[in-house]
Symmetry: C2
Subunit: 455 residues, 2 copies
């Protein structure tokens, strides 16, 4: 009995058109990574579970795809656990040694520790690979998706931040997407926490700040009170909540507010250097200061970066920041760095929404030769050989089918030119070239054909 | 306690240099695929086990990596099987719904059936993705490795074979690898089986034919006798075992020998058409007829292709053939096609052995700017911005470190040029460019620098 085939939920097939579009995004990002001196690495899809477990919180551990050990997998399992019939983490780790990578950061940290003696620091690496998460699938969230990460590790210089901001700008300029790059600094957030004497409420505060435009300052204050913030703390926050003006003005205001906090002042100084350095070089994107930006609050220690598309309502399409302990969990302390991650799936959605794919991102062959039988096909294949040598992609319809069927194929694949070698052309040693967009036809020699089709 | 990180056995990390080399191979293959009108697809790493199981034989089923179900995975398991503590296939399929793909062919077949209504036939697809096998790891055999497949389905025309042979030739010409392309045809083998009345001994016979050069005809005959071949059968085989001469001569001899077998004659006719068509177009590779070629004996139904490197002793580096039932197992009969698969890992080994990587397959940045402090770095970053706009990859050493350390970095990464903006250069608004190969230095304006470094 034949099976009706399907794929696991949350996963996708990519058809030629989807691949061409994805490749357009990946190729653009990859090209810019190279232009900025980042070098590519790849790590295996499977990592030891000991490498992955405990790195993404308790919830993350559950979302790891785990690979059943080969052979007699029950042999290593504790009989008591099997008898209890409880699918506990302990039993899982006895049944499974390996899991699929959940992100690119932990494998990168593992890579750095394992290859520390081969690496030249500062190490600028990029990595474009799929990751897997056993998340509940929903619109825009998949169980297999690509991440595109670039990091510079082993250097504390803010030049690295400026480089990454330029890199982001270059990628989105090439992709024709208008973006705003939002910046914050973890030290500024630490300064605010110091100021109001409530470091444990930092997440609530940033969430509240973020809502000001939507719900107004009174509602924000009420929400903060509900979260247990004292009146003094809320009063101390007011100048930050009502901050306004240009980036430079807001930096100045923040500096005044945080004057008493050493770490807060340091954060402002870093922001000033990064923004100043970036603006001196010039950016196409808008650069914005966003004190509510708190992504990866516990992970990032300095600059925090988030990129939003201006013309489509969608979440962050790129993000990153500076961290000071990438590899401590693997026994190699003090590895600091700064990195960014492009959200390929969301960028794909933005390009689709705005119809921003260039015409040549279709990945179709340039010219298809029709097939009228043996002699004609032979002559066509000789011409095709010369076209390919000249770098022109070309193919012949393999069957001597009805003309209508052959043209339907060319149309369906959006092939821009059809070349026809029929009896007449064969006799004259020529070819008729049909432009499928305009419908124009011309009779050409091979040399003329090559000239017409080679860019 | 910090963990000492490692990766699962049989898997690999790819460092920047290894990545650059692999990318050189993949990019070359991909470019030629495009040139010939093949279009890329990708399928998920995970397939339903129902899609994968039973497609690779009993041994293959064991070599599939299986993914433990999420959540309470024991709930779906038969208590009796758990109590029996036997890691049987039945229990496995209750614990695991998904597995990692084992090759690209079965996922491709599944894809074709699932997307049959969207596809335009003939469908020319290529696919370059990793596959996973729980094989015992050994030298040159990995548990994660890439396959690069191209297939044309929905066309019986031998033009497709001729196209694939040209494609193979083009790939290895570009990679500078001398190869012999060996051809056979399953129908010729069927003819031989008819001739000697021992179709079940076909594998033994092809193995024996393959050994003639090494062990001589007498030993081959003795071996065939051991395998239970009758004296009549062995006698009937003698003309095939002693076949010699050019490809054309051997085709003629084979045609005589197989004159009484209709299927055998058909095989010879196909070989003649494929070889003739290919030779008319011209090939850099040597084309050879090899009657002992029996790869995928049960799968292939027509042309059989195998590619060997001439200058390195290594197994087949590419192979393929024609089949007439890709998707029957998924309920879609009659899908015939022809395909090839490039062995990326072996091609990598061949290029390494012969040191055939071009110099620019190193993937290093073109120029590194040294860093002498804030003002110099600022000026350098302006120049870098202009270089990148001109398409020249460039970076600045992010730290104001000792010159020795900065130059050591450039050397270690084999960066061909170092640009120096010191106090003097800053005053003159110039840059000193050092060629790291020759040691030559010259003082240049920005315009001259761009001109020097842009290709």
């Amino acid at each position: 009995m034949a099976q009706k085939p399907s794929i696991p939920k949350g996963t996708r097939d990519f058809s030629p058109i989807e691949m061409a579009r994805r490749n357009y995004i990946f190729d653009t990002i990859r090209e810019v990574f190279h232009l900025f001196g980042f070098r590519q690495i790849e790590t295996p899809a499977m990592e030891n579970l000991s490498t992955l477990m405990g790195k993404y919180g308790e919830e993350g551990d559950k979302l790891l795809f785990k690979i059943l050990n080969s052979g007699d997998y029950l042999r290593g399992a504790d009989p008591a656990l099997l008898d209890a019939r409880e699918s506990t983490g302990k039993l899982t780790s006895q049944l499974c040694e390996k899991g699929l990578r959940y992100d690119l950061t932990v494998p990168f940290a593992r890579y750095v520790v394992q290859h520390r003696n081969e690496l030249q620091f500062p190490f600028k690496r990029f990595q474009i690979q799929p990751v897997w998460r056993a998340d509940r699938p929903q619109k825009g969230r998949y169980r297999e998706f690509y991440q595109c990460d670039a990091d510079i590790i082993g250097s504390d210089s803010l030049i690295n931040e400026i480089e990454l901001l330029q890199l982001i700008d270059q990628v989105f300029t090439r992709l024709n997407i208008n973006v705003t790059i939002k910046l914050n600094n973890r030290k500024v957030l630490a300064g605010i926490a110091e100021l109001i004497g409530a470091p444990d409420k930092l997440v609530d505060i940033t969430v509240a700040i973020d809502k000001i435009d939507k719900i107004g300052i009174d509602n924000v204050n009420a929400e903060l009170r509900e979260h247990g913030l004292s009146d003094e703390a809320i009063n101390a926050l007011q100048p930050i909540l009502s901050i306004s003006g240009s980036v430079a003005e807001r930096l100045a205001t923040m500096e005044g507010i945080l004057a008493s906090s050493e770490i807060g002042r340091k954060g402002i100084e870093e922001l000033r250097e990064v923004i100043g350095g970036t603006e001196r070089l010039g950016l196409n994107a808008e650069l914005d200061l966003d004190v509510s930006l708190a992504r990866g609050l516990n992970y990032y220690t300095g600059t925090i970066i988030e990129v939003k598309a201006c013309d489509v309502a969608i979440g962050s399409i790129t993000g990153g920041g500076r961290y000071d302990n990438l590899t401590g969990v693997f026994g190699m302390p003090g590895v600091s760095g700064v990195g960014i991650s492009f959200g390929a799936d969301r960028i794909y959605d933005v390009l689709n929404a705005l119809d921003l794919y260039p015409a040549d991102a279709l990945d179709t062959v340039k010219v298809m030769f029709t097939n009228f039988g043996e002699s004609e096909a032979r002559a066509s294949m000789q011409m095709i050989k010369h076209l390919r040598t000249a770098g022109v992609s070309a193919e012949i319809f393999p069957e001597n089918s009805k003309m209508k069927k052959q043209m339907a194929y060319a149309n369906a694949l959006a092939i821009p030119f059809v070349a026809i070698v029929g009896e007449t052309e064969l006799a004259e040693n020529k070819v008729t070239l049909k432009n499928m967009t305009t419908g124009d036809q011309e009779l050409l020699t091979l040399e003329e054909l090559i000239k017409r089709l080679a860019d």
